[in-house]
């Protein structure tokens, strides 16, 4: 995924930050076990959030140890022990990273694609065997996404749909209970929508340069004479509406979850971290209280 889901670090207690990083390290360690140490490079914060959220629905206390690892051999770090949530998040991480690399190869012919795919191949096959239905659903949405891009879809809502639904399936699959799955699914849907659109806004400049598809430039009619900066300015408010409204729906779904632990960390991410990220990407400098010295 994209690594947009991060906490507002200065507002976390140090112990909370350690636990968040503990999940991140836990996912990393599990990926290494599943896809080899080279597989670790695909790790993203988004999957750490997935592990944190899913595990927080379980009432067993957080278990972990201070350990050394290959990436940080000098300092011992708190690493959450492998459990269902951490396993699931690392499987998802491997799966999405694999598709991402495949995409890079097919679209841009970048050599990192086949190189990374070779590393992840074994892990990817294992995930595919483990969750055949989920993998099918994900692949179908990715095909939809490709098709949308090919026909130059001119609606941001429509363009966000495949990725939002992909995330919905991923979150929904994490719970056996129908009601919890439904709520998690809505968290996933809105998160997916937010991620896709935020990424699109972030990529306007690159996409304009390389003349590749971007739903925002199509819907709001980017013209070369206009310049990227003024275009970003022009669509800022409209984009912000969809982004923030998606987050507000996410927050409603989150409120319905029975969170058993790590509540303050999750609330930090959902009420602060995601908003701060939104504003940073939209470059709403004056309004975001991050005055520079």
């Amino acid at each position: 995924m994209f690594g947009y889901i991060t906490p507002d670090k200065p507002d976390l207690k140090i112990c909370e930050f350690e636990v968040f990083r503990g999940y991140y390290c836990g996912v990393c360690k599990t990926i290494a076990k599943k896809a080899g140490h080279r597989g670790r490079i695909v790790l993203s914060y988004d999957c750490a959030f997935l592990a944190l959220l899913i595990d927080s629905l379980d009432k067993a206390p957080v278990s972990g140890k201070h350990r050394r690892c290959l990436v940080h051999p000098l300092n011992k770090r708190y690493i959450v022990d492998s459990n269902f949530a951490v396993e699931y998040a690392s499987d998802i991480n491997i799966l999405l990273a694999y598709y991402n690399l495949k995409d890079k190869w097919q679209d841009e012919k970048r050599l990192i694609g086949p190189a990374g795919m070779a590393v992840l191949k074994k892990g990817y096959r294992r995930v595919k065997r483990k969750y055949p239905d989920l993998v099918n659903a994900v692949e179908e949405e990715l095909n939809n996404l490709k098709e949308l891009e090919k026909r130059n879809c001119d609606s941001i809502d429509e363009a966000c749909e495949p990725f939002a639904r992909l995330m919905q399936s991923i979150f929904l699959y994490a719970s056996d209970c129908e009601n919890i799955g439904k709520v998690l699914g809505w968290v996933g849907y809105n998160l997916g929508k937010w991620i896709y659109l935020l990424d699109a806004y972030d990529d306007i400049e690159d996409n304009v340069k390389s003349r590749s598809y971007n739903p925002l430039t199509v819907q709001f009619g980017y013209d070369d004479g206009e310049g990227v900066e003024s275009f970003r300015e022009r669509i800022r408010e409209k984009t912000e509406f969809v982004l923030v409204y998606s987050l507000s729906e996410l927050e409603k779904a989150f409120s319905l979850l029975d969170i058993k632990k790590n509540k303050s960390i999750l609330e930090n991410i959902i009420y602060r971290g995601l908003l701060i990220k939104t504003r940073n990407v939209l470059q709403m400098g004056a309004d975001c209280h991050e005055k520079s010295l």
């Binding site: 609606s155 439904k182 929508k193 409204y245 998606s246 507000s248 319905l256 908003l275």
Partner: protein, 224 residues
């Protein structure tokens, strides 16, 4: 029944005041109005029922007298809610009895409510005119399925076409309220690191304070 203290997010043995405070906040959080355009509204309703039961139970055990008050209040709330529902009911009933078109409107509303988006969209597509009502319904449908950009466009158009209709205005203002409620949520605006004064305003403040002290004959910062 679940532990009522747990449901209200309290420690066991919390005082009546604490119980009431927690209850008020939770009712606000899970209020049907807040979940009106959300696909999880049934689950929010269930949660609210649980909270009401837990509150009722705790207050009953704490004090009979107060329980009665609570009961009355709850009944009032219920009545109010029913009245709201009724007025909404008559709202759609108002379309209801008159023509074929109004029956269609009611049907589409129910389909959206029940999450049958494909069918609702088909009926919407079959409507001959794209008037305010059509835009309103299309807006509601998009809102539920998560297409917020288009939802906003259609709701705005509905209000533009029929500015006098309170139902359309309500829907649009709900959207704006929700947007702002999250954007300016108290967790975010709680202050702290991001809202602290920057170096520049700290220096200016010190300088002003020093000048004021000097005017009065004292000195805050001796070196200047």
């Amino acid at each position: 029944m679940k532990n009522p203290y747990e449901v209200l997010g309290l420690k066991e043995g919390a005082s009546i005041e604490e119980i009431k405070k927690a209850y008020r906040e939770l009712v606000k959080k899970y209020h049907p109005d807040r979940y009106m355009d959300n696909p999880l509204s049934d689950l929010a309703e269930e949660k609210l029922r649980e909270i009401n039961e837990a509150y009722d139970y705790l207050i009953k055990n704490a004090n009979n007298n107060q329980r009665q008050q609570q009961y009355q209040r709850q009944q009032q709330q219920q009545q109010q809610y029913q009245r709201q529902q009724q007025s909404q009911g008559t709202g759609s009933g108002y379309y209801g009895g008159y023509s074929d078109n109004s029956r269609l409107v009611y049907q589409i509303k129910m389909l959206i409510q029940n999450g049958n988006f494909a069918q609702a969209q088909r009926l919407l597509d079959s409507m001959p005119v794209r008037d305010a009502t059509w835009n309103y319904l299309q807006g509601l449908l998009f809102l539920r399925r998560g297409w917020y950009d288009r939802a906003n466009v259609h709701l705005q158009r509905a209000v533009q076409m029929d500015p006098g209709n309170m139902e359309y205005r309500d829907a649009l203002s709900r959207v704006n309220t929700q947007f702002n409620a999250y954007r300016y949520n108290p967790n975010y605006y709680r202050g702290g690191y991001h809202q602290g004064p920057d170096m520049c305003s700290v220096c200016t403040t010190l300088w002003c304070a020093d000048s004021l002290c000097e005017c009065c004959g004292g000195d805050l910062i001796a070196c200047c």
